[in-house]
Symmetry: C2
Subunit: 372 residues, 2 copies
C-alpha cells in the first residue's frame, strides 16, 4: 500500500461544492415535491441494517456488492444499504403492514456500493423514488410511470424516453403459445438477454426469434409483438402496455424492448427504464414486483427509482445572484428585513471584507439594495 | 450469536415513517434556508473517506468511534464520517483554498458512530451546521451564534438557552494572572472539568477555585468572572462575551460556564452549547477553532453544528390534511390542475379504493374539492 494524501478521497467518492451541492438539493426537492403532490408519504429507512436481512430481501444477488462491517454491539455483520427499494418493502410489510392499501411511499437517500461498476464509477449514489404497495394493475403502472416522468421534468430534464419491457414474457409464451420445456426457459432468456439469434436457433427456440425484432419505437414494435402472438397469449399484456403508453400522452417518447430484463429478475409483468437526451446512462427504472410478507404470503407493488447524480452537473448553474453585502454596522433588524424580502445577506465582519470578492451583486446603501 | 429477525434493525439505527420523516425534512429545510439566507453556500462532503485522513483531521481522538471497513479497490481502510465539520475544513483548505475569505459554508447529512453513547443510543445521526472560515473575531462569533439560534427558531424551537464558555481560559490565566507551572495546567483543567474543588486545592491551585462559582445566568456570572480577574488578563475575553451576548439581544437566555470544555479541546477562545426547554440533551454547539492548511499553516474559523434528531419527534405533527381523493376516471389534466393549486391528489386505482381509508379529507366532486 502506498501512503495517501489526507486531501484525497477514495475512488468512487466525491465532495460537492456550492454550485453542484445546491443543484443537488434543488433537483431532489423538486422530484420529492412531485411525489408528495401525488400522495406519496415520505419514509427514511436506516442507512445500515443486518447484512443477513438486507441480503435476504435482495434475493442474495447483491451480497457481494454490499459494504459490510462487524458490529461491536451485536456481534453481527451489518451492511450499508445498496438499494432503498427493498427497505421500503420491509417497512411496508412490517411496521406499516396494517396501513390501508394502496400504500404510497417515497424516499430519498444515499446508497453505497463496495465496488464501482464499469460504466458508473461512483460508489456513493443518490437514489430517490416512489413505491405503490398493494397494487400492480395497469392503473398503478400508469401512475408510477407518469410520476417518474413528471419527477424528471421537474428537475428540468427534457426529451425523455421511456423504454417498456415485459419481464415475464418468456414464461408467459412458454406456458401458452410457444411451448418450451421448463429446463430450457432459463437458457432462452439468457440468449434473449444477449440478443443472440444464433444461440436461440441452437437451442431449437426459433419460435422466439421474432421477439428480437419487436423492439424500437412503441407503435411499430407493439405491432410486431402482436403479429407474433398467434394464440393471443400476449393480448392482455399488449393491451396493458398500450393503456400505459396512452396515459403518458406526448410527455415522453416510448420505446419497447420486450425481452430486456435490465438484470431485474424480481420484476413481474411490467418494467420500464428512463432515458433522456444528453445522458448516456439510464436515469432510472421501475416496474411491478412482489414483496414477501411476514406471514409467508406476498404482496404486489409497483414503483420506480431515480438516480439523479448525472443530472446534477448538467443542471448545475448559479442561481440569480441575490447576494446583498451588508456594510459593517448594519442593524440586525435591517438585515432581517432584507432576508425576509428574499435577499441573501452577507455581513461584513471587518472593514477589509469586500462585496465583490464575496460574490455579492448588491450592496446595502442608504437602506436599499443597490447593484454594484 | 443468536439468529436475528430480518424485520429488526441493529441497535442505534431506525426507520422514520411518514409523519416523522416529513418532520425531519421540514426541520432540515427550515434550518438550511436560514443558513443560506445569511450567505452560507452548501457543500456535500463524501460519506466515506480514507480512515487515516479522517482520523488525522479529527486529531486522532475519534479513531475508535469510526465505522471502518477495508476498501477492496484501494486496499486501504476507509471510514464512514463521524463528523461533517472536519470534512468542511478539508474542503475549505484544499479545493476551496483560493476562495475569498471569509468563506461561509453550510452542510447537512448523516454521520455514523461505531458504538452508541450512554445518553445518545443513536448510531446514525443527523448533523447540520455552518462554518465561517477565515475569521474568529467577535463579529464572526456573534454571527455564528445568531445564525445557530435563528436556525433552531426556524424549526419551531422555543426557550433557547446558549451556554457560553472560554475554552482556553486556564492557559490564559496561567500565563498571566494566576501563574501555574506548565506541567500542572492539564491537571487543573481536569479538576475544573469535573468541577472538583477539593482536587483543585490538592493541586495547590486554590486561586482557580472562584472559577467554579462564576457560572450561571450570564450577567451575574460575568460579574463574578470580572471580580476574579485581578490583573485584567481576562478583560478582552469578558468584553468579547458581552458583545456576543448583546448581539443576541433577547432571542435566547444566555448562561456562562467559563471552564466547561464539552470535550472539544480543539476550540480556541470561544465556545457555546445550545439547549432548549423540553430537551434534556444539547441540540448543538459551536465556537472558534483553527484548521490545518495544506501549506503547514493554520486558518482560523468559527462555526456550529446542530443535531436535530431529538427535535423531530417533538415537532412531528401531521400537516393540515390537503389530501384530495380523485375518483376513478378523473382526467389527468384536472388532476394536474388540482395539484398546481396546492392539493395532494390521491388517485383511485380501482373501485374499491376508499377516500377515508386513504386519509383524504376531500373528494373531487363535480370538478371541485369537497370536504368529506
Amino acid at each position: 500500500m502506498t501512503s495517501i494524501s489526507p486531501d484525497l478521497l477514495p475512488e468512487g467518492f466525491r465532495d460537492r461544492l456550492p454550485v453542484q451541492a445546491e443543484a443537488a438539493v434543488r433537483v431532489a426537492r423538486a422530484m420529492l415535491d412531485v411525489m408528495a403532490s401525488h400522495g406519496y408519504g415520505r419514509v427514511s429507512p436506516a442507512i445500515a441494517e443486518f447484512e443477513a436481512s438486507l441480503s435476504a430481501r435482495s434475493g442474495g444477488a447483491t451480497r457481494n456488492s454490499l459494504l459490510r462491517f462487524t458490529d461491536p454491539v451485536s456481534g453481527h455483520t451489518l451492511a450499508l444499504r445498496g438499494d432503498i427499494t427493498v427497505q421500503v418493502g420491509r417497512i411496508a410489510t412490517t411496521r406499516m403492514a396494517d396501513a390501508p392499501r394502496p400504500l404510497r411511499l417515497c424516499y430519498h437517500g444515499q446508497i453505497l456500493r463496495l465496488r464501482a461498476r464499469q460504466l458508473r464509477p461512483e460508489r456513493e449514489i443518490t437514489q430517490l423514488g416512489a413505491e405503490l404497495i398493494g397494487n400492480d394493475s395497469v392503473a398503478a403502472a400508469s401512475e408510477i410511470v407518469t410520476v417518474a416522468v413528471e419527477a424528471l421534468e421537474s428537475a428540468g430534464v427534457k426529451d425523455i424516453t421511456v423504454d417498456f419491457t415485459l419481464p415475464d414474457l418468456v414464461e408467459t409464451l412458454a406456458a401458452k403459445a410457444l411451448p418450451l420445456s421448463p429446463e430450457k426457459i432459463d437458457a432462452v432468456r439468457s440468449e434473449l438477454d444477449m440478443k443472440d439469434a444464433g444461440g436461440l436457433s441452437a437451442l431449437g427456440a426459433d419460435a422466439y426469434l421474432p421477439l428480437l425484432a419487436a423492439t424500437g419505437p412503441f407503435a411499430e414494435a407493439v405491432q410486431k409483438l402482436r403479429a407474433i402472438d398467434a394464440g393471443g397469449a400476449l393480448a392482455s399484456r399488449i393491451g396493458a402496455l398500450e393503456a400505459i403508453a396512452e396515459s403518458l400522452g406526448d410527455r415522453a417518447t416510448i420505446t419497447l424492448d420486450p425481452t430486456e430484463r435490465h438484470g431485474f429478475e424480481y420484476q413481474s409483468w411490467f418494467g420500464f427504464t428512463l432515458f433522456a437526451k444528453g445522458y448516456t446512462a439510464a436515469l432510472g427504472r421501475g416496474g411491478t414486483y412482489a414483496i414477501a410478507r411476514t406471514d409467508g404470503g406476498v404482496e404486489v407493488a409497483t414503483g420506480f427509482s431515480l438516480y439523479p447524480d448525472p443530472l446534477i452537473d448538467i443542471v448545475a448553474e448559479k442561481d440569480e445572484n441575490r447576494r446583498l453585502f451588508l456594510p459593517k454596522g448594519t442593524l440586525a433588524s435591517k438585515a432581517a428585513q432584507m432576508r425576509s424580502e428574499g435577499w441573501i445577506t452577507v455581513a461584513a465582519l471587518d472593514e477589509s471584507d469586500n462585496a465583490q470578492a464575496l460574490d455579492c451583486a448588491y450592496v446595502l446603501t442608504n437602506g436599499r439594495a443597490e447593484p454594484i
